[in-house]
Point group: C2
Chain length 387, copies 2
């Protein structure tokens, strides 16, 4: 096990009827709140009313910043910061999925400084006393509700950059699984894929094979993500399954799985981001299309690790290490297919001739994320396996 610091101060309020707590949790940090949300689905579902009612009951003055897109844009972050400054907001409350929470974190960071917020993303400035953040989660997927990271797309330069800072953990996140019963099947599935991919990235990029505790936790979370996703798709109103999937996706990226693994990377996300940017593919779908090929490419160089994955997650007991590895990858691929997540580039109608330009775009992110062993050639080679 590698040395690590684990410090996750986010308070989680999990369960039924927890939404009414958002007012008191948010009012603890000030009277003036910037309420951040997306395209308005929270208005249709009635969540908007429940949240604003609670905030108002707690005596809060609400400024609204809506219209956050999936793959949130820097320009929209900037307008949120201007609004927060203009209205003297003391705290931000994000109601939504990973994109909304990510954008809210960037607004928290940018609202207490004079310089442009993008300087945090390019490493030119360090975080200083950001505004506090509370969240109400509406989608089991990204894990942003219990971590300190975010990804924002600069719509001027087409750069999709991310960073994290310990001052940006949400203070309180409210996770009411019943809210997610209305999430449609495709986004339920993509959310599970996202959570699973967060674990796979760490599981297969760890520099340390002696992470027995973390391995068991990661394997258990993957099994749970699959099992609970299946139940949610079979019966969207299955509260227990929604709860299981929600807590699993939160634990998948809250620092617990990575603690002790040493340096880990997000190579599949790195390639998936380009697919999303070029072809407007949902995040989860981009990951399911990349993962099988990425795994097949890497299995021969770490057969024992891939065999352990196959044995413990899919109970594959026959064959040598490479055979087990292959069967494990096939099983995962088949599961992706069963939930109607794409597993190849061809399925997404991405032609082989595009591979060069995808790789050229992706390699820029590989540099930003310091994925040192990913050059254009390697990315191209992996993408060919993904075809």
């Amino acid at each position: 096990m590698q040395n690590f610091v684990f410090h996750n101060p986010t308070k989680i309020l999990f369960g039924k009827n927890t939404i009414p707590a958002i007012g008191a949790e948010t009012a603890a940090f000030g009277e003036k709140v910037l309420l951040v949300y997306g395209a308005g689905s929270i208005k249709k579902s009635g969540l908007y009313e429940r949240v604003t009612e609670s905030l108002e009951k707690a005596g809060m003055e609400i400024t609204e910043h809506s219209g956050v897109q999936s793959n949130p844009l820097l320009s929209h972050v900037r307008s949120g910061i201007a609004l927060a400054k203009k209205n003297g907001c003391q705290v931000i409350c994000a109601v939504g999925g990973g994109s909304v929470i990510d954008e809210a974190k960037a607004i928290c960071a940018g609202s207490t400084v004079e310089h442009d917020v993008w300087k945090f993303f390019t490493g030119k400035k360090s975080i200083k006393a950001p505004l506090p953040l509370t969240t109400v989660l509406t989608l089991a997927a990204a894990g942003s509700e219990m971590n300190s990271g975010m990804v924002i797309t600069n719509d001027e330069t087409s750069q999709k950059f991310g960073f994290g800072n310990k001052q940006l953990f949400p203070k309180t996140s409210i996770l009411d699984p019943s809210i997610t019963c209305s999430v449609p099947p495709d986004y339920t599935a993509y959310g599970a894929v996202d959570a699973i991919n967060h674990i796979l990235e760490f599981y297969f990029t760890t520099e340390d094979p002696s992470t027995a505790v973390q391995d068991r936790i990661m394997e258990g979370l993957i099994i749970n993500a699959m099992e609970s996703c299946n139940k949610c798709l079979a019966n969207p109103d299955d509260y227990a399954a929604r709860a299981d999937l929600m807590w699993t996706s939160t634990l998948a990226l809250n620092g617990l799985t990575a603690a002790g693994l040493g340096k880990v990377g997000f190579p599949m996300h790195m390639m998936g981001h380009t697919l999303s940017a070029f072809y407007n593919i949902p995040h989860g779908a981009s990951l399911s299309a990349i993962a099988p090929g990425w795994m097949r490419f890497h299995a021969p160089s770490q057969p024992a690790r891939f065999a352990q994955f196959a044995e413990r997650v899919f109970e594959i007991r026959e064959g040598n290490e490479q055979e087990k590895a292959d069967r494990g990858i096939s099983k995962l691929t088949a599961w992706f297919t069963s939930i109607h997540a794409p597993v190849t580039l061809s399925e997404l109608e991405i032609p082989e001739k595009d591979i060069v330009r995808i790789a050229e775009n992706a390699v820029a992110l590989a540099k930003v994320w310091r994925l040192k062993d990913y050059d254009t050639k390697k990315i191209e080679a992996i993408l060919r396996v993904c075809l």
Copy 2:
């Protein structure tokens, strides 16, 4: 899954060469520190010098409170509080295992109030702004380094009471597994038993069977506790195994396993505490002597749960639920025996005639801990299975 609040703000610094950070971590809370430790084994190992050097380098003025016993005593807590008050200590630093950290928590709580500290344990007073606590852990077992609970024995009334409060999470805990390489085999084994028992208590007393995420995490932690303990006993200097056992035992009681289970109890600890009190049996040994009998007593009423335990922890696939349950319990019992932990009362030379008085003592704790379905008769019946 039941509703829950999860909020664990303790910062963990884990790994080699982390001890020198204790000075800065502690000095963040004030200049005057009460250093709490046990019988002096930390002096023999050189740890005392490393800690005090770091504290002094950080400019701290140290007051020492040593001599903490396993099963820490209220009288000693009181003298620690008096010392902290007299010297105006602003922060407490605990160097030791669960007993030392537990006592330090009680001193933190008692040092900022005028009334006697025991009133917190009897529920007559509520915690108010306790002193902050930092810890250096020397034994993988209790989990006190990352939770907010403690158990103290009132040496006037022979009551062994415990409570927890969210203000009593350590601010920072330093976990250097290499320190534990010198822990002798019996205490290494008892520590693993303690960690496993913390998980078993929750696993089998949960009111909610729909805790799929938590189940996988608990099962994985039990497997890891056994595997890493075996490696530590075979080679005490196996750093990876010591690290694995240390992080496993911390995660076993940091709130993660219990979150979502609803009301859980510590019935095996309840009975074990009486064994320790009457016969001076190490905490872990009292638990290994109780657990097999307690499990055999309960398996018939929840065979599916016990069968799942057997299947997932010991890979038992043959037989019906009750048969699997039996085999799982036998496997765990055999493992306890393999690490030289006692598995019956007879092994501890506790005669059958003592059962009545053990039950009479234990039932008092059952009342304090609100284990409503444990009366004297039931405890006696379980103890007979433990014979």
